[in-house]
């Protein structure tokens, strides 16, 4: 009888864990974004807010030296430069600046602007800086992998969707 009670207890505990574990796993992707610190001499990341490292490859995207340009790359982590632009480019599909073949191709971006004064770059899904902002990149920062882009309530992957950019003085903030 005692053995039966023990077995029932184990069964109940296993069932309970089985119910909890999937719920926990479902919650994980929705937690607030992590910050990682990649030390100079190590390819691994130290997670700041979570023991699980969020990013390890970001350091592969080196910013370089300031020259006032935004650099657009075909692949993540700044692989294969597509174009660079010092001013606005409101339509990648035309022949100026980030020319026709570069439209909807970008997978990483680096901002080599100066310290201030229209040094922040906003990138957009459509021509004319419209269709919903894609990402805002501050001076001296890199967006090293755009490939995981997902929009609210969808599984739409929006990698390679940048079609225009505009320089601004600051990013938009939390916009409420």
């Amino acid at each position: 009888m005692r053995m039966v009670r023990v077995l029932l207890g184990v069964l109940a505990l296993t069932t309970l864990l089985g119910l909890i574990a999937p719920a926990y796993a479902q919650d994980r992707p929705d937690r607030p974004a992590d910050v990682s610190l990649t030390p100079t001499d190590s390819p691994t990341s130290e997670a700041v807010d979570d023991p699980e490292p969020a990013v390890s490859a970001a350091a592969a995207c080196s910013v370089g030296s300031p020259n006032g340009y935004v650099y657009i790359y075909r692949y993540a982590n700044c692989g294969e430069q597509l174009c660079r632009a010092e001013g606005d480019d409101l339509d990648y599909s035309n022949d100026k600046g980030c020319a026709g073949s570069d439209n909807d191709k970008a997978s990483s971006v680096v901002n080599r602007g100066f310290a201030n004064g229209w040094g922040v770059v906003r990138l957009y899904r459509h021509a004319g800086a419209s269709g919903g902002e894609y990402i805002c990149v501050n001076v001296g920062s890199a967006a090293s992998e755009l490939s995981d882009e997902k929009f609210l309530g969808t599984n739409v992957v929006a990698d390679n969707r940048i079609s225009s950019h505009a320089w601004v003085q600051i990013c938009p903030g939390y916009a409420d």
Binding site: P32, A33, D34, V35, S36, L37, T38, P39, T40, D41, S45, V48, A54, V55, A58, A59, C61, V63, G64, S65, P66, N67, G68, E86, G87, D88, F114, A115, N116, G117, W118, G119, R125, H126, A127, G128, A129, G132, Y134, I135, C136, N138, G140, A142, A143, S144, E145, E149, K150, F151, L152, V156, W167, V168, Q169, I170, P172, Y174, A175, D176
Partner: protein, 292 residues
């Protein structure tokens, strides 16, 4: 004097000492709202002055850049719905052209061209920070954004906002919440219905554009007078039809859903911005170079 007055207005006496001293000593109370456009500019100007001081300490020269009036340099998202602004600035094309001309040729870009390759490399490390000492954050829509955890940019932010790692995290996340929901706003059937009404209004005003996006794609080719006429018509039609209100409502709806899991980051950002404003006011009042 202005700084003292601001501290007294925004905090109880016990907090005044805290809020007006070093930013990382004790927490400051959460403000009711974020910074105004003028306050943001005060902080940004102070930040640039701190960057200038940092570069100067390292033997480099940096000239403060002129800032456009925040009322002039607005970013139009969705539809232009301010008739007075449209009548004055059009879509802001002239301001933007002037800014881009300055961006291409300014005292700092000219100075950098006088440096040797080795000096430029050192300038980059001093300003941007040590390559590889990288902080990275994955923003809610998926992409990863990274920056250096040292250098003059990080130092200036630390002086104003407090802990740089926290600031970089909350700023990067909250700056990039809009990309998570704007596609929903512009994909909503109510938006498309409102755009159709707006297009009818525009046609009656003599402009055959089917959407505000169709105008954006043509902005670069517009002459100044044409730009103002078109911008004014866009704003009038945005207000005369449901378009402006629909965009506002949809942003509130979808934006609320996206912001909810990040309320903690938004609150932290507001607290850190409040601290930064008080630090900035001290810097602005003690530095003639920042006041224009």
């Amino acid at each position: 004097m202005r700084h003292v007055a601001r501290c007294a207005m925004t905090a109880v006496p016990l907090i005044v000492l805290t809020a007006c001293s070093a930013p990382d000593k004790l927490p400051t109370p959460a403000p009711a709202a974020g910074l105004t456009a003028d306050q943001v500019q005060t902080v940004e100007r102070a930040r640039e002055e701190l960057i200038r001081r940092c570069l100067t300490r390292q033997g480099f020269t940096y000239v403060l850049t002129p800032w456009a009036d925040p009322r002039e340099s607005r970013v139009i998202d969705g539809v232009l719905d301010d008739i007075t602004w449209a009548q004055t600035y059009g879509y802001g094309g002239r301001i933007r052209a002037k800014a881009m001309a300055y961006k291409r040729d300014n005292p700092n870009s000219r100075y950098l061209k006088t440096l040797t390759a080795k000096q430029r490399e050192r300038f980059a490390t001093v300003l941007y920070g040590t390559p590889g000492a990288t902080l990275s954050v994955r923003i809610p829509s998926g992409p990863v954004i990274s920056t250096s955890s040292d250098g003059c940019l990080a130092e200036a932010d630390s002086s104003l906002y407090g802990d740089f790692r926290t600031w970089f995290r909350v700023k990067t996340i909250t700056d990039n919440l809009a990309p998570r929901y704007l596609p929903q706003v512009y994909g909503d059937a109510r938006f498309h219905q409102a755009v159709a009404s707006w297009a009818t209004c525009m046609r009656e005003a003599g402009f055959g554009y089917t959407s505000p996006s169709a105008i954006r794609a043509r902005l670069a080719s517009l002459k100044p007078a044409e730009e103002i006429r078109l911008a004014t018509a866009e704003a009038r039609c945005a207000l005369a039809t449901p378009l402006a209100g629909t965009i506002r409502d949809l942003k509130r709806h979808y934006g609320g859903i996206v912001r909810r899991p990040y309320e903690k980051e938004i609150t932290t950002r507001k607290q850190m911005e409040s601290t930064a404003l008080m630090q900035a006011q001290k810097i602005v009042t003690t530095s003639k170079g920042v006041q224009q």
